[in-house]
Symmetry: C2
DNA sequence: ATTAGCTGCTAATACGTATCAGCACTTCTG
DNA sequence: CAGAAGTGCTGATACGTATTAGCAGCTAAT
């Protein structure tokens, strides 16, 4: 019951009749120094180790070696609590998979509840050799400090403006959005609308950039740069602008608009096409599958983890990587009906 | 770019014109020793700390204090890889929640792929202050070593036979099963069958124990102590034994049996009631909601985490806790039809 | 005027490991 | 037979922190 005093190398040394240094050399000497320990001695030490079940204390080890084969996973927002957990799990899956493959363990530092700071009082983050940062809301001050500091990290999701280049793996939303616009145009849409923010997080800006880049000025009939507006109101604006297709950044808005439209007897996509910019986790809703693009969350997380390990192990230079987002067919984008056309 | 030599207490001390010891005392002195540092000095040191963003190295800290406010989570089976991840996530949610509330971080040690040993070569587990063990397949040798050792741990799920009492939090399956049996009897069932293992894991034994305890000998018409047998075969046995109600341990078996029965034109629960022993994660299958009992996975995980912290912080004695499993109504248990009764 | 007690600090040490310099001894070389 | 080279090992030290013992200098009490 009473703590049985943990076994140390000194104990092993005593039992084997050698010095602590010898034990350490047996355990992890360089080929060079290893050659200077005769087989007999080595086997004697190894036997004692086997018999006692000794394992080196990773803490002491880390202290002297500096590395621990542990990666931190930092999230500002609560990662797990079951409510909206599904946002993080695909990322965690990916990180875990890559970490396992590379022989690393994971230290979870999730800000469940109390907004947590990386540079807080009790930051145990540094136990890890480096860390992956997840989350939508980034504290730019902290990011800048990380960039300036020597602690290896990689962000999942593109980040700018941190007083230096931020290593990241993100989704390539701009071309993915542009591709959807092209697809809408090829269906014959000439009156297109946008609902969503056009500034703020990088991912948001990218969507708007990809959109505005490929939509001709004449084709953009209206933009609503906000989210969460009452759907009926939004719909009124869209219809009075004569839009035949609307691009929406938030799934929730898309669902609301679709619902409002259906209530008015409009048919999707005949009377109005809806495109969502990015597949959202709970997209497996009943019935309707929105046309969108896939965000390769697991692949992003894997790539970020591998990048982090490169930085940890080889002090690799900052990399910035955007992964391709595959279009998702869905059933909310189609040709505008001639009726709608005439209505205009 | 070149590693900017991590900040240490010595650096802080130098900048503030005091000794390293003073810095340490400012950071975490006892009220006693704190009272001996004048406010002026303390503020000077604190200012330097704030300006530099210094944080104490948790590794060195752990080395001297022995505690780290980190809990390990060990799983034998792969925890994350998305395939069957859903088994572990509720547990992880619960552990994470409790750990956060108690001010602990989580070190994930998941055996993805290579069957991992707790006592391997590279055991980073000891970095944690204690650990929660998850997983169905336990290595009893290792469990015994854990019990014998001084490393605090708590198992999720009841465990026996480890050369000593194993601290655990499990589900109280026996009475939950018994309650379902009583319920079946109150519906009028007098010819009951059992499909599933009756030995092996503790959780399995508990189910069988709860079942056999409350089913009268005359009422148990047949038992099939195996899983995965062809459903038609199973159904033949059940029907020829005249069973009106069958208790199944594996959801997969229940689904298969239900499907086979429906194919033959039998109605569930009129012609045959099916009770599953424990809600399985993916139970939200289309259509059919099986009568069963709820396994409070998150609560189990929370309780296990809290128990672990008690052991870590106060060296609390071994506790063994079984949590109540609420019955789940479902729609596969009902009164046996008179037709079925007559048929016999 | 001595001592006892307080205040403000610091030196020294321990924690468990990795690693390097080097000691004592043997064997080989010229 | 002196020196070089090799062998088998150990002592000392560093890593960054917490903590204890204790040193000056000062004040208050006897």
């Amino acid at each position: 019951m009473a703590a049985v005093k943990r076994l140390t190398q000194r104990d092993i040394a005593q039992l084997a009749g050698v010095s602590q240094a010898t034990v350490s050399l047996v355990l992890n000497g360089t080929p060079l120094s290893r050659s200077r320990i005769p087989t007999e001695t080595r086997e004697r030490v190894e036997k004692v180790i086997r018999d006692t079940g000794y394992v080196a204390d990773p803490v002491a080890r880390k202290m002297v070696k500096g590395l621990n084969r542990i990666l931190g996973v930092f999230t500002y927002e609560p990662a797990f609590p079951s409510g909206q957990a599904d946002f993080f799990t695909p990322f965690l899956f990916g990180i875990e998979e890559a970490a396992q493959a590379l022989g690393y363990d994971l230290l979870l530092l999730t800000g469940a509840g109390q907004q947590r700071k990386i540079f807080g009082d009790n930051v145990r983050l540094r136990l890890a050799d480096g860390c992956v940062i997840l989350g939508r809301k980034f504290d730019n001050t902290e990011l800048a400090r990380l960039v300036a500091g020597d602690f290896p990290f990689v962000a999942v999701g593109r980040r700018d403006d941190a007083g230096g280049p931020v290593p990241y793996v993100g989704g390539d939303y701009a071309p993915a959005t542009a591709a959807l616009v092209e697809r809408a145009k090829s269906f014959g849409h000439r009156r297109i609308a946008y609902v969503g923010l056009n500034e703020g997080a990088e991912s948001t800006v990218d969507r708007w950039y990809g959109f505005s880049r490929s939509v001709g000025e004449a084709e953009l009939v209206t933009s609503i740069f906000e989210v969460g507006r009452p759907p009926n109101e939004t719909l009124d604006i869209l219809l009075s602008a004569g839009a035949t297709c609307v691009f929406v950044t938030e799934l929730a808005d898309a669902i609301a608009i679709e619902h409002a439209a259906r209530t008015r007897g409009l048919s999707i996509p005949d009377d109005l096409s809806i495109v969502v910019l990015g597949n959202h986790i709970r997209a497996e809703e009943p019935g309707r599958r929105f046309t969108s693009f896939a965000i390769p969350r697991e692949a992003m997380a894997r790539a970020a983890t591998e990048m982090l390990v490169r930085r940890v192990e080889h002090d690799a230079p900052v990399e910035q990587l955007l992964l391709h987002c595959e279009p998702l067919e869905g059933d909310t984008l189609g040709a505008p009906s001639s009726k709608t056309k005439k209505t205009k």
